[in-house]
């Protein structure tokens, strides 16, 4: 990932992170703004506390379910565009908040706002996973989360001033327009960002997210960290004013202090955790320790707040809250992204749903337990509860992660001896199936890019296995995926399916039943062995720490089947490794061999038409006989190979077809030559083209290509 980020436009990544932070800041300005505007709005709109509470908390209720949907859409569509779309929606509805007339419009607008914001967390987590290496994610998350801390501060401070002078409606219009401005630098940045690369485009099935309980523990961690944040956002302002008797201005200053400390703390702890990880510390341990300690102190500080009355003490406790909120907010995301590895794959959306749900709970809860306003969070049921989940969240996450890691270690231990005898035993156990499939394919050879019967045989053989099949429009190639989207590495195994246009003379009982076609290149065995590997590995799918794709490819014999399958995107996201096997009937029984570097040559087709002017064979001087010229060319090509290319660098030019004339006494108009050019490097290949005066033309799509 680090090398990937370095290779692909690392310079744009800081800008991306800053803009993500700005986006969250703009989103969270609303938290402060709605807080200060709440009393005025409620009375201006003539709403009861309950009605106002319901309308405002619509934001959170819609947030949770929509976040799951939009989070998974971020995996499917461009996450950058999704975020732009969300911000556009957000800005428009914030502006419209300035024009609300009553309960219904407020309710609907808050819902649209919830939809608009729900993209930012899964989206930014996905972008951080994609562009930032793990040991730098602390600071990246800190910058993004600084937006969360600064947003309410700006919203409260700036919102309060605009509200005091121009009223709450003007405040929303101003904030909405400011949000829309963000789209300008964003659209500029997105164009310069690296293209999404293979590894992180795979979708991660929701059922697998839901199935991992350690990830649910992460969700609880998110819930508790949000609990802390919403304690500051929703409960604290009114507590300070009503219970401690501070003026609105004093409350604003105190809250702003807390947020400011949290922003600084997030940046500091983000940078420290990264440095620590880069210096060789265990990243999971560092991040989880910060989470646990942060939660503990946070809980104690909340409890202490109820015991103190003096302004300096409250200010001190708010500083402590902010200081702990920093490492919590940074690492809760970094830990989640750790689970996601290099590819975020939508998991963040599930975590965030938990946290959004916790917020959704907190909204109505605030409302239901107090009669003054939605934000007048009832202190009594909260007081004993607040430190508890905050303390429990951290350790439970870390226990979950430890357990899942130890399971993975055990699996690795099981997998190690699997290499040797077990796999071979399994393969021998299904030798009958492998041979049967090979013979069935051998008896019915198919040519080129269209091998539907062969593919059908493969699919029938593997029908009972948990494989996902992918096919493309260009040919009958298919990719069977085992453990699709499973976290970890990915590997490709490949076998080809097409035969040759030549007669079979083996006399075997399962010899070709199609005249003029034969599996003389062993592709029948390649496909059968690959199908066998699919069965052997499917039997151990749970123990395999990653995804395996089996590539059943037609059109190897000169039809570029592999290229068509690549072009069709069947191998996207590209895998981490690829292996293939080719039989050799004249190599020792059971021996496996290969070499590093170039194994096989390039193979181009050379075609030459010699155009002359024909005539009577007895009077060649009256004609332009193309036949001697063609012969000269054959020899000239051999001279070219030995005189123009070093003997140590293999170049083969072979003319294999020579075609001219129709009768013994007629000099033809034309002669045709056909042959092949073989080289071992792209450089030599191009040099041969150039030297032989060839004009390479790109291959037209074969007419056999299917168009779906």
């Amino acid at each position: 990932m680090a090398t990937l980020a370095q290779r692909r436009g690392l310079q744009t990544v800081p800008a991306l992170i800053l803009l993500l932070g700005a986006s969250l800041l703009l989103n969270y300005v609303d938290r402060g703004a709605i807080g200060v505007a709440a009393p005025l709005m409620k009375s201006d709109l003539g709403l009861s506390a309950t009605a106002f509470g319901i309308a405002v908390s619509a934001f959170f209720w819609i947030y949770a379910p929509v976040q799951l949907v939009l989070g998974s859409l971020c995996d499917r569509w461009s996450v950058y565009r999704m975020l732009a779309l969300g911000t556009a929606l957000w800005s428009a509805s914030t502006i419209l908040m300035g024009f609300v007339g009553g309960f219904l419009s407020l309710f609907l607008l808050r819902m649209v706002l919830g939809v608009g914001e729900s993209i930012i967390f899964p989206g930014s987590s996905k972008m951080i996973c994609r562009h930032v290496p793990p040991e730098r994610r602390g600071l990246a998350n800190a910058v993004v989360m600084t937006g969360v801390a600064l947003g309410p501060a700006v919203g409260t401070l700036l919102g309060g001033s605009i509200l005091a002078t121009f009223g709450w409606r003007a405040m929303f219009v101003v904030f909405g327009m400011a949000s829309a401005l963000w789209l300008i630098p964003w659209s500029g940045l997105v164009r310069t960002l690296p293209v999404p690369t293979g590894a992180d485009r795979a979708s991660f099935p929701l059922k697998k997210v839901i199935g991992r309980w350690s990830l649910w523990a992460m969700g609880v961690g998110h819930a508790t960290s949000n609990y802390g944040l919403y304690f500051m956002l929703a409960f604290l302002p009114l507590f300070l004013v009503q219970q401690r008797g501070f003026t609105i201005l004093q409350m604003t200053m105190l809250a702003t202090l807390g947020y400011a400390v949290q922003a600084i703390s997030a940046l500091a702890f983000g940078a420290v955790s990264d440095r620590w990880a880069r210096a060789g510390g265990s990243e999971p341990r560092i991040r989880r320790s910060m989470l646990v300690v942060g939660h503990l102190i946070y809980g104690v500080a909340i409890l202490a707040l109820f015991a103190v009355h003096s302004m300096p003490m409250i200010a001190l406790l708010l500083c402590i809250l902010g200081a702990c909120g920093g490492p919590i907010s940074v690492n809760i995301y970094a830990v989640a992204q750790m689970f996601a590895g290099n590819a975020h794959r939508g998991r963040g959306s599930a975590f965030k749903t938990r946290s959004a749900t916790s917020r959704a709970f907190s909204g109505p809860r605030c409302q239901a337990s107090s009669s003054t306003a939605w934000a007048t969070a009832a202190p009594s049921p909260w007081r004993p509860r607040s430190p508890l989940p905050a303390v429990c969240g951290g350790p439970s996450c870390s226990r979950a992660s430890r357990k899942s890691r130890s399971i993975e270690r055990r699996r690795a231990a099981i997998a190690a001896p699997m290499l040797t005898e077990d796999l071979l035993q399994d393969a021998h156990g299904i030798a009958g199936r492998i041979t049967a499939l090979r013979r069935a394919i051998h008896a019915e050879p198919e040519l080129g890019l269209e091998t539907p019967k062969t593919l059908a045989k493969v699919k029938a053989e593997l029908a009972d296995l948990p494989l996902e099949w992918r096919e493309g429009p260009s040919c009958t190639g298919a990719v069977a995926v085992l453990n699709a989207g499973k976290q970890g590495r990915s590997v490709l195994l490949r076998g080809d399916m097409d035969a040759l246009p030549m007669p079979e003379e083996t006399g075997l009982e399962f010899a070709s039943t199609v005249p003029g076609r034969m599996h003389a290149c062993g592709h029948d065995t390649h496909t059968a062995m690959l199908a066998g590997a699919a069965r052997v590995l499917a039997g151990r799918a749970d123990a395999l720490p990653g995804e395996v794709r089996f590539m059943f490819q037609p059109g190897e014999e000169g039809y570029h089947g592999a290229r068509f399958m690549l072009d069709d995107g069947l191998l996207d996201p590209l895998l981490d490794a690829a292996f293939a096997l080719h039989i050799m009937p004249n190599a020792p029984h059971g021996a496996i061999g290969s070499r590093s570097g170039t194994l096989l040559a390039s193979a181009d087709t050379l075609e030459i038409a010699v155009v002359g002017r024909g005539g009577h064979a007895s009077m060649p001087h009256q004609t332009r006989d193309p036949v001697p010229v063609a012969c000269e060319i054959v020899m000239a090509l051999q001279t070219m190979v030995t005189r123009r290319f070093e003997a140590t660098e293999a170049v083969v030019v072979t003319v294999t077809q020579l075609d001219a004339g129709t009768a013994f006494n007629v000099i033809p108009d034309r002669a045709f030559l056909k042959g092949t050019i073989r080289t071992l490097s792209p450089e030599k290949r191009h040099a041969v083209w150039k030297t032989s005066g060839a004009l390479p033309r790109t291959l037209p799509r074969p007419t056999t290509a299917r168009q779906k």
């Binding site: 796999l423 066998g532 080719h582 190599a587 061999g593 040559a601």
Partner: protein
């Protein structure tokens, strides 16, 4: 005169060959032959190897103790395969996948 582009050269990744060697030699009676020179044949698996690090290996399917000089090569009308070798090929492929997923290029 025209040249119709065929397949590019097939280039094995060194790490993948080392992995394949480890897998091949871990099979019973396993051996891995390092070919001294390339072969001038061609494979369109090269397109995959241009984009994904990996390797192609050859599997000897001559009969046990067969005279290799007498075995018909590929593309021969009398090309024969000793099918008893096929499970070994399956185990090799499965082994490469398993080992890579477990350990990467280590």
């Amino acid at each position: 005169m025209t040249v119709t582009e065929g397949f590019p050269p097939t280039v094995n990744d060194e790490r993948a060959v080392a992995l394949a060697e480890a897998v091949a030699t871990s099979l019973a009676d396993g051996q891995f032959l390092r070919l001294p020179t390339p072969i001038m044949g061609a494979e369109d698996f090269s397109y995959v190897l241009e984009k994904v690090p990996g390797m192609m290996a050859f599997l000897g399917v001559a009969g046990e103790g067969a005279d290799l000089a007498q075995c018909c090569a590929i593309h021969s009308t009398r090309m024969m395969v000793d099918e008893s070798v096929l499970p070994r090929g399956t185990a090799f492929l499965a082994g490469c996948a398993t080992r890579f997923l477990d350990r990467g290029w280590d």
